[in-house]
């Protein structure tokens, strides 16, 4: 009985909690991608770097606050800097739209041209971020590290396995939850939100109804800026901040959006968790869990790890391909934005 409890705790500690936090981060990223796809109708390859930019601005302000001795007590100071990060990222995205994307929109350029254009934007952002903050790892997390630390949990429960719940993980889940609720409230309950859905659904009819496309696009960029910054900061708090890792996040984020069905916000969230749980489960060494569950003579002698951690891209990719082959519209078809 205790063994089963130990196994559950180990599984929660190493799979369920990290995967949930990671899934929430992916979901926020994928929401941004899917919104842009739904409204502007192209796959934005600059999204990873937008996240990196938003997180960078937040980090710079966090450092500034820290140097002035401002803090949020147990919570990371980054939360305080987050709104500033969102404002700067909004400014950046609106400027990019004005200088770059709007021209192609007016030309009614093919989506693939916009994708290439977004590649150019990706280069610029990538360079900009590295130019300002450098390509290296940056630390900006402060405050209480754990909500539940492994040691406390062991003392409290008397189990052999510890359960650690990091502040960053708890924060990720809570903030992501709030963001998603707010987004859905906005899309389903407000006039502007509904007009965005209408625009995404049927652009011509939206125009006939008097919906102003430029306004819809502007609101979309603002939301995307907020989502990307939040996702970037949460990921940075939870793992670490390094510009290149954000570029690499592009693949799991796209996989999440496509698996859920491009253009569907609900799908982006579902897709994020599908990808995150698969990645973590498939690359986790189950030896520990199985040792508790199996009778002694059957205990595994290997790590019981399906794939090494470095193959997590392969996992997102495999799921992506499987979904594309068998259900190209994604798992959560139906409502686009």
């Amino acid at each position: 009985m205790v063994d089963i409890l130990n196994a559950i705790v180990a599984l929660t500690n190493f799979v369920i909690i990290p995967a949930t936090a990671y899934g929430a981060q992916l979901a926020l990223g994928a929401l941004g991608v899917t919104l842009i796809y739904g409204i502007l109708r192209f796959s934005n390859f600059a999204h990873g770097d937008t996240m990196a930019f938003g997180a960078m601005v937040t980090i710079l302000f966090t450092w500034w606050f820290q140097s002035m001795g401002i803090s949020l007590g147990p919570l990371p100071t980054a939360l305080l800097a987050l709104p500033l990060g969102i404002i700067f990222t909004s400014g950046l995205l609106l400027a990019t739209d004005r200088v770059v994307y709007r021209f192609y929109r007016q030309q009614k350029a093919k989506p693939v041209i916009l994708v290439i254009v977004s590649m150019g934007v990706m280069f610029v952002l990538n360079g900009l971020v590295r130019f300002i903050i450098g390509p290296n790892d940056q630390r900006f997390a402060d405050g209480e590290r754990f909500i539940i630390s492994a040691r406390d949990f062991k003392e409290w429960s008397g189990l052999r396995e510890g359960l650690a719940f990091k502040t960053s993980q708890g924060l990720t889940i809570v903030v992501a939850f709030i963001c998603v609720i707010a987004l859905f409230w906005f899309l389903n309950r407000t006039r502007t939100g509904k007009s965005m859905r209408a625009f995404s659904d049927n652009e011509d009819l939206a125009l006939l109804s008097g919906i102003n496309p430029e306004r819809v696009v502007m609101v979309t960029w603002l939301i995307v800026a907020a989502l990307a910054t939040v996702a970037g900061v949460l990921y940075g708090l939870d793992k670490s901040y390094k510009p290149f890792t954000y570029f690499q996040l592009l693949l799991p984020i796209f996989a999440s959006a496509v698996v859920g069905g491009l253009g569907s916000p609900l799908g982006a969230i579902g897709g994020g968790f599908v990808i995150a749980f698969s990645e973590v489960t498939i690359t986790y060494a189950f030896k520990k869990v199985l040792t508790y569950l199996m009778p002694e003579q059957l205990e595994p002698d290997g790590l019981v790890q399906l794939l090494s951690t470095d193959y997590k891209f392969a996992v997102s990719f495999a799921i992506l391909v499987i979904v594309l082959l068998f259900k190209p519209t994604g798992l959560f078809k139906g409502q686009s934005i």
Binding site: F42, S43, F45, V100, F103, P111, V112, I113, V115, I116, V117, M119, G120, V121, M122, F123, V124, L125, N126, G127, L128, R130, F131, I132, G134, P135, F244, F247, Q248, L250, L251, F254, A255, V258, L262, G302, L306, S308, D310, Y311, F313, A314, S316, F317, L320, V321, L324, L325, P328
Partner: protein, 440 residues
Amino acid sequence: MKNALLFGLVALLFLGTGLFQSWNVALSIFNMALISAILALGVNMQWGFAGLFNIGIMGFVALGGLAAVLVSMPTTTEAWTAGGPRVLLSLVFGALTVVGAILIRTRMAPGRLRTILFLSFLIGGFILYRALFDPARDAIEAVNPAATGYLGGLNNWGEDYRDYGWMTLVAWPVGALLAAGAAWVVGKTALGLRSDYLAIATLGISEIVIAILKNEDWMSRGVKNVIGLPRPVPYEIDLQQSETFVERANALGFDAVTASSLWIKLNYTFLFAVILIILLIGAQRALKSPWGRMMRAIRDNETAAEAMGKDVTRRHLQIFVLGSAICGLAGAMMTTLDGQLTPSSYQPLRFTFLIWVMVIVGGSGNNWGAILGGFLIWWLWIQVEPLGALLMEFLTWPLPEDSALKAHLLDSVQHMRLLTMGVILLLVLRFSPRGLIPER
């Protein structure tokens, strides 16, 4: 006329580099530019001829690099005895499992039985595969891990393997084949889907290829890198010790060290240029052939081409495999030039997106354009850094010597190149979307 002028201008850039920096630098940029031009040709086939959006170039380049190692490096006999056959056997077994699973899916009637059989076949196969594979891998990786720890290549001449540099040349077409094989698998699954999906699929496959190179130590030594690949050209040391060479160098007014390094670079230049010319002729003929015209017809209007009875997916697969094979070839050449395979050096910005900048800036759909783009952008990529440093020095000149801002700005100059490439790409897309040498 205008095109000749453009090429002349790029030639001037290289000549200027030679005159003002050094011929050694100019030649090394030129050699890599030749490879870049070949890559751009390959990508231009896919994008310019057929409109296929491949952003997994890095993966195919890396496969070419892997081929160079697998063919030209000395065989680790001990590792082969330790687990070579077993690894091969397990790989064959793994492949058979996949084939079997596909057969189950295609041959059996749909239903729960098929799903169960399909899944259990795959899972069972995977477990058996790992049981076969893991001990062999561990055995191989345990063999002298500091120096080898991998199976090595096919260069089975023991100590003298460096004398068999021609093996490296053999590796080039093998690299092309390897990349073509991977492209076939990707194409089979992702072509025919929407263009963004192909893009994401290729992006994914390239990341996976790099992950494999980094992790499968038994094959590629992983992040321990493979160094000292045999060369198809002489070694500096040998030249410097050759009396005739030193004499000739001195006669021309060079010291032996510079001369040897230049001479070797020129050898590479010759090799690469020959390949580039062959490929250019081939690509030009392909473009003008009925096949090329059909490709462009398909690109411009897929529906119409399909209605006329063209097998669009098949044609796309053809050109996708061909273009990727060229990338694989270039990848093998690149690894040969470097003399080493360092999986962690493969960065998508450098190996995928930069090639795209070359193709777009040069002029997609035009082979000459792709080549021009390859030369120009590669030169810029290298030279933006020193030029940027000069510019920064100038801009920060009013700042005090010990200013933190100045230090930061000067320090960050290396990241200017990404910024510059992005700006160039955006400017060309906006103001000259057909590139410097547009398609005719």
